[in-house]
């Protein structure tokens, strides 16, 4: 279910709720699956007493992964050609996250058609936690 260039226009926005109430357990799941066992994400005692943060916080890559679901649900499987982000604020247990992809341009290269997207994820306070871009191959 890929996108059709003929039905897309600059400024179109696709949004998705990523998580309602991020749990510490989901962060633990991500640590286990990804292999990033940094205690900053799963060890409340280390993170508060040694590192000096108010609590554990999510891996940036968990936010990028969840935001990636919004993208692949929108552009279709195997269609992404580029996806890049900056992590602009930390994500904490209990956060609710919403992500959006906004059509920036429709381009052609080597006889193929692509959509360029601006990508952003924000928390329940409207604070941007991730800012980036993606490119995906679309049907003409």
């Amino acid at each position: 279910m890929a996108l059709n260039a003929s039905k897309l226009k600059v400024g179109d926005v696709h949004t998705a709720r990523l998580v309602d109430d991020l749990t510490r357990t989901q962060i633990v799941q991500y640590a286990g699956a990804s292999g990033d066992y940094n205690p900053l994400h799963t060890d409340e005692i280390f993170t508060t007493k040694v590192a000096g943060y108010p609590s554990v916080f999510a891996h940036g890559m968990l936010t990028m992964g969840m935001t990636g679901k919004m993208l692949t649900d929108y552009v279709g499987d195997t269609r992404l050609t580029k996806y890049g982000v900056r992590f602009t604020s930390q994500v904490w247990p209990g956060d609710a996250l919403d992500a959006s992809a906004t059509v920036k341009a429709i381009t052609e290269r080597d006889g193929k058609t692509f959509v360029e997207l601006d990508v952003a994820t924000t928390n329940q306070n409207g604070v941007e936690v991730l800012s980036g871009y993606a490119e995906a191959r679309v049907d003409p």
């Binding site: 990523l18 205690p39 900053l40 000096g52 992964g65 990636g68 649900d73 050609t81 580029k82 992590f87």
Partner: protein, 163 residues
């Protein structure tokens, strides 16, 4: 991240997809995946980050028999010297991927990482920031480039202030 042999396994993809809250059948249901454009189980876009599991020296995984900087009897198992604020070897600032072809269960990747630029910036909420970039090429069993990844890490002078 350097992994000489990173076997992309369906079970690992399932665990990874669950952890990011993605129940796309293309990641976990062989029969459903076989009917998609992918024609079989594929990996989510950020899956290659888990090549850390196959990097023998990955520093954010406890090593058997060695002290670990997370808590046990004490809040940290290590006496830290120097390093940045915030603990844990810095924070992830940016991540970029270019996809050259879909990554499928059954692929065996080799990851080769080259260091990139480093630069400094004065941060408002965490003091001096030292950024360092690395570029990782993921090639398949035939030497074909599958994914190019560029990561930027940042070391902060002190923990990031919370508003």
């Amino acid at each position: 991240m350097a992994a000489k042999k990173f076997p992309v396994e369906a079970g690992h993809i399932l665990l990874f997809a669950r952890s990011i809250g993605d129940d796309n059948p293309a990641y976990m249901d062989e029969e459903a995946a076989s009917k998609t454009e992918a024609g079989g189980i594929i990996a989510p876009p950020t899956f290659v980050q888990s090549s850390a599991q196959f990097d023998p020296d990955y520093f954010l995984r406890p090593k058997i028999g060695q002290p670990w900087f997370g808590s046990g009897k004490n809040p940290t198992g290590l006496v830290r010297t120097g390093g940045g604020g915030g603990g844990g070897g810095g924070l992830h600032a940016e991540q970029h991927y270019e996809y050259h072809r879909p990554l499928r269960a059954g692929d065996v990747l080799t990851a080769t990482t080259l260091p990139g630029k480093t630069w400094e910036k004065e941060g408002r909420r965490s003091g001096k920031l030292v950024f360092s970039e690395s570029v990782t090429e993921y090639r398949d069993q035939n030497g074909e480039l599958v994914i190019t990844a560029r990561g930027v890490g940042v070391r902060t002078e002190r923990p990031v202030e919370q508003k």
